[in-house]
Subunit: 380 residues, 2 copies
């Protein structure tokens, strides 16, 4: 067991009919003018937007709306949102959407007090302050609603990088799983695979941290069970709710307690893939990369990978467990090879180079370019 | 899945050699004069006290010391500590000890702004404000280091009652599991049984909250495994650490997520026992009461009790699982009958009456005096 510090002050409001409560939270802080950040408009179809603007109006809160956040959010959009936030002198940001919207909100919140947003992602100077962030989550997966992390793509430089700071904990997040019932199936699956991957990034670092390893197994198994149930009935509320809360705690600090950090190689390689191929959804990329990474890396911490094979997949062989994992992902209609993502074999070197642009990749083993190429070849 | 709100802002600093860090946390808030609350002096033997006073001195923080908090802390001691806190105009409280010391610190913290401490426990008026609380935990079990609850005994009226308020979250708590290596064995066991019972108070309310039920199983199993390991080697750091963190999250909000509250009948009956018999340690009382309560109550939520029998004890029969639970507790040298606690059969009625003094007992089934007598007879 490693020493650790745990502090997570985000307030979570979870359940049916909770959307309007985010405005009450904003009201408690007495903020009057808010940047409302959103994606392409799905929140107009599921009634979320209407509930928010109506409650804001009756609470005398002005929402400055900024639409158009993309999956794999991009720097230029964050910069134009920041310009609006400064012009309108907003006091806080309300992100309404999935992890992309919340991540971009964090970029704007921290960028508000910086010379340039991208400097923060290059870690040229630290985050000194941030606008308060509130969120309404519409797609569970990234865990961004209850953590300090944010990923952003610099589309010109083809870099998908991240920031993290305790200043970026949302003040409050509303999670109403019932609004996720109308999601396209592949989005539910991508979110679930992202959350499984987050848990496993920590889990595979483990050895004797019994409580964290067994909680991580509980998270992974619950996500698998919930997605299986949803594949039968997408409108099963309890499955949506179990999946949603599992995804939140997969990356709110809990899953990595007393572990020596996470590995993050799978994430770093996926970020390289979607930096070069922005059309690849994060969860889909992870579905392809992590099984290949496990295959390449398990010999370096075999005891814990064996525990995983046994606990999650009821298998004594790690190799067979990997096949079962891929089979499961395939049964959810997720891609399990680079080819299925539309990537050419001759791009592998560029992806590997891109992954290494932002420093060391991997903790179980610090991966060389050769290692990453091998993993991508397995994934192909 | 029930709707829920989760908010827990306590900062946890966990691990070896972390004791002095509590003074750094106090320093961050710029508090200068602190009431240091402690028990009977064991912290002078294990070096904790010395580390704290030395760090406080070099940080120019004045500690007003108040010793003598008893297991099952009592109102009169809390009142005398409050008098001292007021006289010295302290700005915060530092509790150094187990759950009893932290609970009494919460009584003083809330009492500081009330007309009388006991009024708060009678719920005559709500807690309006509280002194900031910092803690150094020396015995894992109650979870008080990361929650809002506090139990206190009014020794004159023979009432062991509780308060709870978000104002009572400690600002920061230090948990160094290595200092628990020198605990008397029965204290380790009592703490562990308290934590198992906390988890089960929530767990047995469950139905379809897969993520919480499986996390609760992870907590219960980890505690059992850790105590078993410690019975072989009391100085096993990883077992101490796994037990300590499990006990914290058994009652920090996580274990009850999306469940319809907890049952708490076992706790309420135990509180009645130790209100009348202050020499009975809380964990020892729970070791006796909960198995009897399970035997009496399981038919009201048989599916979840069966799940527990299977998951924790690898048994299809709930009755056999209860026997295994008692056997396990016995193997740890915990008492498993009222008789072993030194209680006479003719006291059962008084205990049952005392349990009902503070309103309804039990959620799975609201227990009548007849029910409680039956449970106590099973426990005898």
């Amino acid at each position: 067991m490693e020493n650790f510090t745990f502090w997570n002050p985000t307030k979570i409001i979870f359940g049916k009919d909770t959307i309007p409560l985010i405005i009450k939270e904003i009201k408690k802080y007495n903020y009057k003018k808010i940047l409302m950040l959103a994606g392409s408009g799905s929140i107009k179809l599921n009634g979320v937007y209407e509930q928010i603007i109506n409650t804001a109006k009756s609470s005398n809160i002005i929402l400055i709306e900024k639409w158009g956040v993309r999956p794999n959010p991009i720097l230029s959009h964050a910069e134009s949102a920041l310009e609006l936030a400064r012009k309108e002198k907003v006091e806080a940001i309300l992100a309404v959407g999935g992890g992309s919207v919340i991540d971009e909100a964090k970029a704007i919140a921290a960028g508000f007090y910086a010379q340039s947003i991208w400097d923060l992602y290059e870690h040229i100077y630290p985050i000194s302050n941030a606008l308060p962030i509130f969120t309404v989550l519409t797609l569970s997966g990234t865990g961004s609603e209850m953590n300090v992390n944010a990923v952003l793509t610099n589309e010109k430089e083809k870099k998908k990088w991240f920031i993290g700071s305790p200043l970026l904990y949302p003040k409050a997040s509303v999670i109403d799983p019932s609004i996720q019932m109308s999601l396209p199936w592949h989005q539910t699956v991508n979110g679930a695979i992202d959350a499984i991957t987050h848990t496993q990034e920590f889990y595979f670092m483990g050895s004797n941290q019994e409580i964290s390893l067994s909680i991580d197994e509980a998270i992974i198994k619950t996500i698998i069970k919930s997605v299986d149930e949803l594949s039968q009935n997408e409108k099963n509320y309890d499955s949506r709710a179990n999946l949603a809360w599992s995804a939140t705690i997969a990356l709110n600090g809990l899953s990595g307690i007393a572990l020596p950090g996470g590995d993050w190689a799978s994430h770093r390689i996926e970020h390289a893939i979607s930096a070069l191929h922005p059309e690849v959804a994060h969860g889909a990329g992870l579905a392809v990369v992590m099984p290949a990474w496990i295959k390449y890396i398990y010999k370096y911490n075999e005891k814990t990978f064996s525990r995983w094979a046994h606990s999650i997949w009821k298998e004594n062989s790690i190799e067979t467990a990997i096949e079962k994992m891929k089979e499961k992902y395939r049964s959810w209609s997720a891609p399990v090879s680079l080819k299925e993502l539309g990537i050419q074999k001759n791009e592998i070197q560029d992806i590997a180079k891109n992954a290494l642009l932002n420093g060391n990749v991997g903790n179980i083993k610090s991966l060389s370019i050769y290692d990453i190429i091998k993993i991508l070849e397995i994934a192909y």
